[in-house]
């Protein structure tokens, strides 16, 4: 049924329709509305049986999810930013043990400096923790990906992270098609765990493994993600048949077939990119986009096929790998091994800086002229940066960067944007 509803509410309803038996979460912006809505749904008795566990930290949230999943319960949690970092040790345990937990990450920047706004630094920092990572372009896709995520996780017995842009999606109210419980039940079979702790049939999970077999056990996690390269499109196709919507999959092209310039990005910024592309196409520029939905596993072959014909590829990233630049870029380059084309990395939207059509338009025009640096920071205020660099050069005791820069900038007015 079509409803005008907040993204977080829609995701919470979708998760509830997936009938998790344990939900454990610690609130952190911008994930809060998702778990608040779920706690209300559980309290109202609309999701039963389900235990909602208020934990004391994110480390506990993931630990409870691991324990619940190991007993054969369908387990769900959600977090963001520092909360994701706080559960890192447990993240690796969840994937190493092969427990099919589903988690929402409401993407948010990582401090310091402390910042509550959106970028992809949090989930990108965990790209190698063994979890499948799916990125939602819209709130509709965020809802749809959660339903697909449980099925994917349980078929492979591996955990799945659904990443949705914090605030930009979680707090946006828009038209979303919310499925019925019967539709979700028909799509998502009951959880049959590959392993389960049961007092009547005791086993142990979590053995210490020495050098003789550690690599083999680790490889199995990789093998599951390689299997996901086939399974993710299959599940998306099943989903489309059942729900009538093209959602999920590995990658998605937008006017990219004949494009000379292709923009690669993840998440909600793809919408703004598509609108900008439409305007540039009207001016005659051959430009398109490829959105990456599945960042782990990384669809090397599919991306190679989608990009190989381009003259240039612009990778627009909402995270910065300090010391090298692009995270997504490194992966895209691997997909393009042996193919000669011009490649540009653009770091954009860090800490919630708006990514505007005007800035994208200027960026893409510069890209088409091959006038971009290999690494570009979109809308960077170089005056602020250079002033602080000069201060550092002048004095060994120049003080803290964030405080210096805020003092230079003066009081921040709550302007129109």
């Amino acid at each position: 049924m079509l409803r005008q509803v907040e993204g977080s509410r829609a995701v919470a309803e979708a998760v509830a329709m997936c009938r998790p038996e344990v939900i454990c979460a610690y609130p952190i912006s911008p994930q809060t509305h998702v778990v608040e809505n779920l706690s209300q749904i559980v309290k109202a008795g609309e999701l039963s049986p389900c235990e909602f566990v208020n934990v004391e930290s994110e480390f506990a949230a993931m630990s409870v999810a691991i324990g619940a999943s190991a007993t054969g319960a369908r387990a769900y949690t959600a977090t963001a930013s520092q909360g994701l970092l706080y559960m890192v040790e447990a993240l690796f345990n969840a994937s190493g043990l092969g427990l099919p937990i589903v988690m929402t990450v409401a993407n948010r920047a990582i401090g310091a400096p402390i910042n509550i706004w959106n970028d992809h630094s949090d989930s990108m920092s965990q790209r190698d923790c063994g979890w499948i990572q799916l990125y939602a372009e819209t709130n509709q896709e965020a809802l749809d990906l959660h339903i697909q995520a449980f099925r994917l996780a349980e078929e492979l017995s591996t955990p799945v992270m659904v990443c949705m842009d914090g605030f930009i999606l979680t707090h946006a109210v828009e038209r979303i098609d919310i499925p019925s419980q019967a539709q979700v039940d028909a799509f998502l079979p009951p959880f049959v765990p590959r392993q389960a702790l049961d007092p009547d049939a005791p086993i142990s999970i979590g053995a210490m493994v020495g050098p003789e077999a550690f690599m083999e056990v680790k490889y199995l996690a990789h093998a599951k993600q390689m299997a996901a390269i086939d399974l993710i499109p299959e599940i998306a196709a099943d989903f489309e048949q059942a729900f009538g919507r093209d959602s999920g999959g590995l990658i998605r092209g937008y006017r990219s077939e004949d494009a000379e310039t292709i923009v690669v990005a993840l998440g909600s910024v793809l919408g703004t990119i598509q609108d900008t592309i439409d305007e540039l196409r009207e001016d005659g520029m051959k430009i398109g986009a490829v959105g990456i939905t599945s960042f782990r596993p990384f669809p090397l072959e599919q991306l190679r096929a989608a990009l190989a014909h381009a003259e240039r590829v612009v990778v627009l990233e909402k995270a910065l790998a300090v010391g090298i630049g692009g995270i997504v870029t490194a992966n895209v380059r691997m997909a393009l091994t042996g193919i000669v084309l011009r490649g540009y990395t653009v770091i954009a939207g860090l800490g919630g800086r708006p990514i505007t059509k005007a800035s994208l338009r200027a960026l893409f025009l510069a890209a088409a002229d091959d006038a971009l640096e290999p690494l570009t920071f979109l809308d960077m205020d170089w005056e602020i940066v250079n002033r602080e660099l000069a201060r550092m050069a002048t004095s060994r005791q120049s003080g803290p960067h964030a405080e210096n820069i805020l003092r230079d900038s003066g009081p921040v007015a709550a302007g129109p944007v």
């Binding site: 005008q4 911008p30 707090h171 703004t272 609108d275 919630g352 007015a413 709550a414 129109p416």
Partner: protein, 196 residues
């Protein structure tokens, strides 16, 4: 696409206003996207919310920098925040106050705009009269429906009832109706003056 930016302070229902406006548009079969300016939420701090309305899917996710309409829930923001930034020359402005634009010291500012699209309405007073609290958001939307013709009063009432329910909902619907009538009267006076 029609873009509305709403300014107010934390506690005045600024975010809820954008949400209700989007729901009213949804009831009329349109696409709508409402979202807040993602700041740290504090009572009394300046808050901005946004609503886009279109006949096709809305993909863009940037903040609204060139609004077609501004709703100002708190006139004390007028001299603290750049409220009017980017407003289109044919744009609408609705301010929650019993004063006129001249009395607010905005007479000179609004010279380049279409006067029949710039109105004030005592939405806080109307809200207090109908709900017992001076939260002006629903009343302002009632006034805005009359000013812009963007949404009908019926759709708005449905959106307000969905959001609040019960006596709070009915009180806010009554406040919205009163503000709608107030603005409709003002517009009649303006067109009468223009014709006379």
């Amino acid at each position: 696409m029609f873009q509305v930016r709403i300014h107010g302070r934390g506690g005045q229902g600024v975010v809820t206003a954008a949400e209700m406006l989007s729901v009213a548009a949804f009831y009329e079969g349109r696409h709508a996207q409402a979202f807040p300016s993602f700041g740290s939420e504090r009572t009394g701090a300046p808050v901005v919310s946004f609503c886009r309305i279109d006949d096709r899917e809305i993909r863009v996710r940037e903040p609204i920098m060139e609004p077609d309409a501004l709703i100002i829930q708190d006139p004390t923001l007028l001299h603290q925040v750049d409220l009017f930034g980017g407003l289109r020359p044919d744009g609408f402005i609705l301010i929650n106050t019993a004063k006129s634009f001249d009395e607010l010291g905005l007479g000179e500012f609004v010279e380049g705009f279409r006067h029949e699209r710039l109105l004030t309405v005592p939405a806080g007073d109307l809200a207090r009269a109908h709900t017992g609290r001076p939260v002006p958001n629903a009343a302002l939307l009632g006034g805005f429906a009359a000013l812009s013709g963007l949404i009908s009063l019926d759709s708005l009432a449905q959106a307000i009832r969905e959001r609040f329910g019960g006596t709070v909902g009915e009180g806010n619907v009554a406040a919205a109706q009163a503000a709608h009538a107030w603005v409709a009267d003002e517009l009649r006076e303006l067109s009468g003056a223009a014709a006379g």
